[in-house]
Amino acid sequence: MKKILAIVAIVAFTFALPSCKGKSDAELKTEVETALQANPDLSGATVDVTNGVATISGELKDDAAVAAAEAAAKGVKGIKSVTNSATVAPPPPPVVITPDDPLTSAVTDAIKDHPTVSASVTDGVVTLTGEISKSDLQTLMQKVQATKPKKVESSALVVK
């Protein structure tokens, strides 16, 4: 019986030992992740912890978010230092709007199968008039919006 108690004591001591040295890397990783999740701007960030050093990676929306991720990791007790490898996501491509001349011919092609619909083009804005059946409306709008206009003005188009 004494022998068993001794083993239990040794095992318990062995497991208790790491806590004397502080938190494990896995525990620190979880704590940093919790800190990152608290800020919705940091949802793209991931973290790894090795020997108390946190490495942040991922793509974030701007410089402020990258700095915030670093600050959040540094704020976790037990993190010795932070290597910040997070990057700023590239901005979305600019909106492409077809110039009026090619747009006019593209819109002419788009409405060709809908003889009850007329269209005019001014400064990138396509204005649709006339009438169309409800069942054809989606096809028409798909074709007209695919010509990459600035805007489609269809409030005067009668849907039957």
Binding site: V95, A106, T139, Q145, A146, K148, K151, V152, S154
Partner: protein, 139 residues
Amino acid sequence: MALQEKYQALIDAANAAGVSNLAVREQDGVLYVDGDAPNGSVKDQLWDVYNQIDPNYASGDLILNVNARAEAGSQVKVITQESNLNIRKGPGTDQPIVGKAAKDEIITLISKANDQWWSVRTQDGEEGYAYSQYLEPLA
């Protein structure tokens, strides 16, 4: 940002359906949503969501351009509503008709002259230009 909130369900649906290269920008009171849909039914599903948010697409505050991506050399299906699809000599409805492809016919996409007009070859070997909105890549 207000428009992005109005169409948030559409953006969420696009992300959930696996649309790649999704770009959402607001400019001068219009929201522009572009991307590559994995197939044609995802495109139609997004248009249904669009119609729910903005009945009859009447507000004029969204330009939705999420199309199924088709590669040159691949097979595409003719998705006209009933009629045959005209194959034309050049890229434009002013060009003479050189052939026709039936609804649901599978034809070959040779190259893309522009977003609207694609160079195609029918099963009968007719070559010409067809209107891209009536062509859907095979999933």
